[in-house]
Amino acid sequence: MKKLLVIILIVSAAATWAGCSDVRRDRGREYMPDMAYSRAYETYDGHEDLKVKNINYNATPVAGTIKRGAMFPFPIPMDKEGDSTNYVAARQVPNPFTTLTEGQAKEAERLYLINCAICHGTALDGNGPLYNGGNGPYPAAPKNLVADPVVSVMPEGQICYSVTYGKGQMGPYASNLRTDQRWMVVKYVKMKQLEKQGGKEPSAGAPTQSQQQAASSGGNQPGGGASGDNPKASGSRTPQPNQ
């Protein structure tokens, strides 16, 4: 009888041990965590208690300031909903990078592949793994950057506006890429577009018909396309790369 009890105990203990989940959901114990926890406020620490301690702390930089050595931000603010005045005005903003050095082109390509290629495709054909010819999870077709009649001749300023603030279904990439990185990627896209079009420089002064269409249909206001008369209008406001 006693033996039977012992056997039953052992078997049930083994079953419990084997049936236990081996997923580790808790951190476990620690012994004397000497200098393990920072007394300073680390990244992602909550800093709500600073106010209680009467310590002034701004989580964001002072308005109107930029980091030393950083490029000036995109000069045109975002449009209000339903308006596209600034989107049209962005056509006049020149790219501070007139050309890319070999190293910059390589870096721009790397940034493009990380941030853009999942939708717009490694070949810029608008068929990245997220769209996958309509079979991917993304419901909207990303723009074909080299063959779309509007995008392939879009001025760099307007591309950069879309990258900075988002356009249509595309989200804003201002938090992914710094201003200089965005301009570099835009330049890279432009280079690829020109490559595809046989190295022809698009005439900056006279927008093509599709561009006018895009402007008028997007802007829906008579004054929208008129700013095309003076391409240098916003030149004084645009930044130069601090490099």
Binding site: A15, E81, S84, N115, Y138, P139, A140, P149, G168
Partner: protein, 460 residues
Amino acid sequence: MQAWSGKKKFFIVDIMLKSCLTFARGRGVFPSLTDILAIMIYQRPIVRKLFCSLFFLFIFSSLNKLSAQDGRALFQTNCASCHNLYKKLTGPALLGFKARGPWADQKQVRAWVHNPVAYMAKDPYTQGLKAEYGSMMQAFPNLGDKDIDAIADYIAKAPAAPGAGGAPGVTGMDPAAAAAQSNDNTLLFGILTLILAVIALILLQVNSNLRKLSDDKEGVPAAEPVPFYRNKAYIYVFTLLLFVVGGYYTIMGAIGLGRTKNYQPTQPIYYSHRVHAGKNQISCLYCHGNAQDGKHANIPSINQCMNCHIAINEYTGSAGKIYSEDGNEVNGTAEIKKIYEYAGWDPQLKKYTKPGKPVEWIKIHALPDHVYFNHSQHVTAGKVQCQTCHGPITEMDEVYQFAELSMGWCINCHRETKVQFASNKFYSIYEKFHNDLKKNPNEAITVEKIGGTECQKCHY
């Protein structure tokens, strides 16, 4: 033609067929090629009609297919950036658009697509659409009437629900089943060990009984039988075993205090790296871009999620069913809804209606404060892959801590990892090593050789 109509036609056909069959029977063979030809000649008008209709059927069906195929391609290049068949995106969902507004008339559709601004000026329905969606449709003056009709045709023929056309769901690995299997194995081994132990015990008992019997027979005075649990030899061995095994586990447990290998907490949102970084091939740096620039590999802010999930509002099982580590199936669409909750996004209105609140993700990989670790030093300068420390992240649904993150683990990697000098400006100051390498390309410069195991590298 009229001569062929009515009963007369059937009568004549009947006569013809009968005569042919009798002819065939008379010759004792089944209708041969010549017979069939004879029928075809006699029945020329009918056969011609038959051939004509077959021919046109074939042409029509292939044309139909062609235009539908065209419609799909045209839809994808021109419309799909803003319109989906089933979902409201930048513009309305297009399935069944013919039943709405003035679109039953195809001429109106063409006029609208060619010049929406002009069309809207005198059409209240499209003015309402502009007010609802907040943006104006792009004009397509170059899209021909046939193209527009082909697109409309494609939309009209699309299945009523997405996936009805058959996008086969990928069946992923069932972690629950896998877990159950591994549990089964442990149980099996446990039972086997138990049985073997019982057999060994019985054999020992039998052995001692047999010895007692033989001793009795030979007249050797038998000592009082000692049960195995009072046998001194057994007790010694057992104590020694307990000391060694217990000592091992005690020491390992003590070393493991404060270490969190395999830690796998339940996160506020079930985010599957397998689906995102594995199936959908999103680069690690898309979300954790700070890893190349700073000390921390940042946790992406919620707008990073919204970049894609503004449009992707449901999980359709493209990467198979998803399970939590406990084996419960996870509803991906419900998890995406949680993002909207945190972001303050209203998926119906397609607007941010509430202030966002931060997702309080639970930190898994934590180093004590007395160690300095910098991601950019490893990712950018060292060119170390994320997976070296974070394991098979593209296969993890719920992330667990892959590496030990102990000092021994760090030092070991610093001793073994060869420094990548090639096309890496960061190490250009180590010119001596550079030249050594040029002389002897087989020589390996490890991280340790350039000071990677100095105390002050990480502790200061």
